[in-house]
């Protein structure tokens, strides 16, 4: 089963390789990974998507926790959370398709962030399935290149 795991870590040299080395060394999977700094300058947040049965996910969280530079490990499956991924797509947009592309982007609430005579670069944010959906729809029109960030996630505020 797919799990999104959020890892707070001390922002020290080599810390990312400690995490990725753990995954490759122990045969765990990484489907996607994104990392950036948090409000605290010396703390980074790494969001990774992985899959495996319950026992594997338990090992993954425990082994991550065992790394000395790791502050906190959260399996998002155990929390109400919002998960987003961003994709940027450079798509062929010539006379006959320019309008069609804009219509599709509008439906997906995407944005055009770069315009050239024969292409657009569009930006769409959403769940993994939404991102996949726009890629599938635009593909027949002529996608030149895509870049995806991988998922990132945050827990929701408390209800009460």
């Amino acid at each position: 089963m797919k799990h999104t795991i959020s890892v707070l870590l001390q922002n020290k040299p080599g810390v990312l390789s400690r995490v990725t080395g753990l995954f490759s060394g122990r045969g765990f999977n990484i489907d996607s990974l994104s990392v950036a700094e948090t409000l605290e300058k010396d703390v980074s947040c790494l969001t990774l998507v992985t899959h495996g049965d319950e026992a594997i996910i338990e090992q993954i969280t425990k082994q991550l926790h065992k790394l000395i530079d790791v502050i906190k490990v959260t399996d998002m499956a155990e929390h109400e959370h919002v998960e987003r991924e961003m994709v940027m797509i450079r798509i062929k947009a010539e006379d006959e398709t320019r309008a069609e592309v804009l219509r599709v982007i509008d439906i997906f609430r995407g944005k055009v962030v770069d315009v050239s005579p024969k292409s657009y670069v569009v930006e769409v944010t959403g769940s993994k399935s939404k991102v996949q959906a726009i890629i599938d729809i635009l593909r027949p029109i002529g996608i030149q290149e895509i870049i995806r960030t991988g998922a990132t996630a945050i827990t929701r505020g408390k209800k009460s």
Binding site: G21, K62, K66, V70
Partner: protein, 566 residues
Amino acid sequence: MKMKGSQAFVKCLEEQGVETIFGFPGGAVIDLYDELLNAENLTHVLVRHEQAAVHAADAYGRVRGEVGVALVTSGPGATNTVTGIASAYCDSIPMVVFTGQVPTMLIGNDAFQEVDIVGITRPVTKHNYLVKKAEDLIPTIREAFHLARTGRPGPVLVDLPKDVIASMVNYTEPKPIKMRTYKPTYEPHPGQVEKACKTVLKAKKPVLYVGGGVIHSNASETVTELAKKLDIPVTMTLMGLGGFPGTDPLSLGMLGMHGTYYANMAVANCDLLIAVGARFDDRVTGRIDAFAPNAKIIHIDIDPSSISKNVKVDIPMVADCHHAVTAMNAWFDSSKDFDARAAKEQHQQWHDQIKDWKNRHPLGYVEEGEVIKPQFVVQKLHELTHGDAIITTEVGQNQMWAAQFYHFNKPRHFLTSGGLGVMGYGFPAAIGAQMAAPDRTVIDVAGDGSIQMNIQELATARQYKCPVKIAILNNNYLGMVRQWQELFYDKKYAHTTLDVAPDFVKLAEAYGAVGLRATKPSEVEPVIKEALKTNNTVIMDFVISREEGVFPMVPAGKATTEMLLV
């Protein structure tokens, strides 16, 4: 106080209580070595290969229950430590390894004797550091010792660039270390203690399964108290030998691939398995679905990631073994539900069953007239040292015979490379053990194959007047692999025959040590006696029955009840 980095290094070692370090100099650490000349309270042992420095530090740490320390230079000095570090990591041995590094401005430049040792050792250390700034030197050394000795112990590597060692630093007195991200759990959860104890009270066929964690946490006495209080039979892993007295009637000996028949039968048939500081390694469990299939499992371990890693556990207890078992003992002492006599009666049938297994297949071997049996040698070593020697081993048959036939009664008396299985561990470990305990008898039980992996340390042993004894069980084979080839590969002995071998007696003499040889059983005792009274390094070359095997044996991937017996 302002001082040179190298001075601060020595001062930090002294403040951490280090008395002996094992190492080998080189260009990148020449400043440290220069400073070591001024260190009055620090003995440096010059090994002949860096791997040996790490194994010696490993053994030194195990015997003393302290952090072992090794110091080597950059590049090849550093890479030569990797096997030793990996072994210490598998066996959770507290250790700090210092490696020299090229000056910071050259790092990443493919400089002479530069290697990314932090990258190389990342998966085999508890943690590691590259000290890039002089002001980080002292705090890093202190943190390294703290990490090595606390929680689940392990090796920590500190990489020291040459310019960092040479720069001026400000030495301040040590303060208690606080780390935001590292807080091992020592005390067990009271609820779990109660749950575990209540489960123990209900068990009719319990077994205690004791691992290396019991030795690391100095829990032998509390575990022995628990076993006796409740009359529970005890089996030990390779790393746990000595954690419970091996000659005690409750002892089942070692379990697993070369465990006793009765230990494996007891585990396979028990209704409760109490694992203390053990990690359900594949050599212990055999086929996992057939391991203790009808048992509830209690697992005490300080490392949460050990729990339910290989075998699903019913009652986990994340804690230091000593603290956890002490808490259990206290619970029984104060519980009105516990009655020692009732517990004994409740387990009587179980003990009868175990006695029957013990009678049916005791640990043994077949004597063969004028040929020396390796098991006989180990038995004689036990007898003539009154079971009180520190035994180190190499890896393979020698290791298993030592584990089976030297019935360890006390912790920190058996030093072996358990998890990684390093041939070449035993001899440098014996030197480390002898440095840690100069007045004790230290014996390396070796094979003729593995002793050659670090034989150069004869020079170290002689230089530091270590009267260690090496008992080579010489069968002219890489015996354990040969045994597998005999049993599972149609006796095709692919590259396991050691056709050219040194004359070990002459080899010993070449180093100024003493060489003795026994070729028939009647010579075994005189040779051991002679060795034990010799105040020098001694090689005892026992020419043994060539194709003797280690039994019982659970073939890889089989259930532990599917044993091949003698």
